[in-house]
């Protein structure tokens, strides 16, 4: 990557905070957002909790007609994207065809699509508008139209690494000079498909997820959206923008191992982290902490810990591996973006977040996971990992 890619806007909307300030507060005070779900009936499932966005009325944010056109995931995205754009003040400084949208998506409008399908299956009338956002690309189009961002429109759909890759790709679009600014991030909403799916695989913890702890049983699902505005640093400073950090580099890869299980030695996870560092021109010694993929599944947490040892060697025990999913839930298509935002906000606040919901030490997870609480830190570089179904792995290096 040539030239520094500056973060000039940050927006977030999820169960742990419906804008930047309250999300930062949750991050600093270790507030877990995982709780009961009432979006749909979860009573048939063994695990019945998630980090659902509660008390959400779309009419607080959109007029009735607009709200009706948008899926839940689109609504989250427009709110977070609006916050990021307002913070950056980027619109008006570049032409509309010089600003683009790179979105990562997951289940997208599946929640509404399920209502349509249930009607079809049970022979009831289903309203066709429920299908409008069934495909994950709808969000990028909605953002482009709403905010007049016309330079590029793209959606990455690599399951849980989607939005991390969308941010890396957004940085690429700036680095190549194809765009002057890129709004990039991701969104996802809870759906029956993912709730039933992960439950059927028996990888959902009935209690709030406890990454890297003994006795953990799996993930807690979540939902939300997070977006960044990225610009070339020199251009951003030239227009008087404030810089909140940098996307120093990224890497993506395929493990070519299994659709759902990570490569067990950690070699493949380590490879993508090393490639991201190489792409950034940053050495492992410069990294202060890592925002883990850290789902809380028994296997994933062990493999990610092994990868840390391979990348950081003897220093692995002193580089905290933190999972903010214990706070936000696993937001699938939005997870990477939410975690990159969490990482950027923590670097700015001078802290390393805590991995919540500790249940006791797991001998197979013997690194520092910052289970004890938020720590003050003056480090300037962190990594965010996102690993997905299909063996799609993404690591992003963030600096301040």
């Amino acid at each position: 990557m040539t030239g520094k890619i500056a973060i000039t806007g940050i927006g977030i909307f999820c169960a742990a905070g419906k804008e930047r300030v309250s999300f930062t507060e949750s991050l600093l005070t270790s507030k877990c957002a995982i709780g009961p779900v009432d979006l749909f009936d979860v009573s048939p499932f063994p695990a019945q909790i998630a980090a659902q966005v509660r008390d959400f009325d779309p009419l607080d944010h959109f007029d009735r007609k607009t709200a009706g056109r948008l899926m839940r995931a689109d609504q989250f995205a427009l709110i977070a994207a609006g916050e990021a754009l307002e913070m950056s003040g980027v619109r008006g400084h570049y032409g509309p065809y010089d600003i683009g949208v790179s979105t990562g998506a997951g289940a997208a409008g599946m929640y509404q699509g399920e209502l349509w399908l249930e009607g079809v299956v049970k022979g009831k009338k289903s309203h066709p508008s429920l299908l409008r956002g069934i495909l994950p690309d709808r969000t990028a189009t909605a953002i482009a139209g709403q905010f007049g961002l016309c330079g590029y429109q793209g959606s990455i759909t690599t399951a849980c690494s989607s939005s991390a890759t969308a941010i890396g790709w957004g940085a690429d679009l700036i680095a190549t000079g194809r765009l002057s600014a890129c709004l990039c991030g991701g969104t996802d909403a809870l759906s029956l498909l993912t709730f039933a799916g992960f439950n059927s695989l028996k990888v959902v913890d009935p209690e709030p997820c406890s990454p890297f702890s003994i006795g953990r049983q799996g993930i807690s699902l979540g939902e939300g959206a997070a977006f960044l505005v990225l610009e070339n640093e020199a251009q951003a400073l030239n227009r008087g923008a404030r810089v909140y950090g940098y996307i120093a580099g990224y890497a993506i890869a395929g493990e070519s191992y299994h659709m759902t299980a990570p490569e067990p030695t950690g070699q493949e996870s380590a490879r993508v982290i090393r490639c991201a560092l190489e792409n950034s021109g940053i050495t492992p010694d410069q990294v202060g902490w890592v925002n883990a993929h850290g789902t809380g599944t028994p296997l994933n947490d062990v493999v990610e810990s092994k990868a840390m040892r391979l990348v950081f060697g003897d220093r692995a025990g002193s580089v905290p591996l933190v999972s903010t999913k214990a706070m936000t839930g696993h937001c699938l298509g939005a997870a990477g973006a939410i975690e990159i935002v969490a990482t950027a906000l923590a670097l700015n606040a001078g802290v390393i977040p805590s991995t919540l919901n500790f249940r006791g030490k797991d001998p197979e997870c013997d690194l520092d996971y910052n289970h004890g609480g938020v720590k003050k830190s003056d480090v300037s570089v962190a990594i965010s990992n996102s690993f997905a179904f299909g063996g799609n792995t993404t690591s992003i290096v963030i600096s301040r």
Binding site: G95, T157, G197, A253
Partner: protein, 348 residues
Amino acid sequence: MSGTNNDIVITGIAAISAGGVGIGQLRETLKQGKCMLTPVPEDILGERGHLWGKAGDFRVGDFMPPLKARKLDRCSIFATVTAGMALKDAGIERDAVIPERVGIALGCGFGGIANSEEFLRGYFLKSTDGLIPMLFPNTVPNAPASNASIEHGFKGPNVTQVQRFCSAESAFLMACRFLEEGRADIMLTGGADDLTPIMIHGFKSLRQLRSHATGFGEGSGILVLERREHALRRGAAIRGSVGEIRTTGFLMPGREAEGIARLKGNANPDIVSLSGTAAELPHIPEIPADIPRLDVGKLVGRSLAMGGVAMVALLLTLPDGKRALHLGVSPEGPYFAIDFFGGPSVQS
């Protein structure tokens, strides 16, 4: 938004569609100009008069054992088989490449929908007793690219794009960037989509069967891209090269001409390939009417990622030394204009 590529060449192509299995059959379909769309069976919609482009000649048993096929969804099978054919066309043996240097960037519009429907249908009919866990992993849109990477051993960049009718072109742009940057030596790119009765129901519900979803198709078109020096070093046959890739995300109301202007290249092509809704684009970049058009979607059906098949078809018909423009368009954006050059010669 535009950018010039660092001399990227195409060394392999493959396709499965209503136009046949493999490039031999597709070439014949193109030569005959024969529409391969067939009637949507009446029992699906309860009415007649609709066409679709099903890959009816494709028999999965010709390519993989039943046990393996049962683990994959139809879209993943398309991608996996087409990727294998494209690698063979490029003369790439699995053992002769470094896995970490081979990647895939695939467009996929409807990947995962078929498994999602089957998985949810089980739940709606029998609650948790109706859930089939093995269906769930392939409900993600990246299943086709990821299954192809697992089957063929690609460990390089692995990404799936969905962006309306330009899903394959969006992936193509990423593949070129990863080669330019040196993230990979070989990138497979293009698109894959399947087509099921529930999708047809959905299109009907949205009243799209008489508009954008008319004659929808399924299949996969995959191209093998390399930097020219890499291809020459391994003695590969070069089918063509990639020129400039220009894209506009969205046409701002009142300022449409500005966005369209960004798609315009610096020379007239010898042939124009139309994909998605490019043929219906009211603001199509000014291209003289006497330049031949190739609209493969009319022959085999269009879909969100059928730009892959369209680009393969273009390469099949593009003579050495000739210049082509591939236009991929979606009604609400994005818009892509990709320049191709036929044959192995270096383009200025």
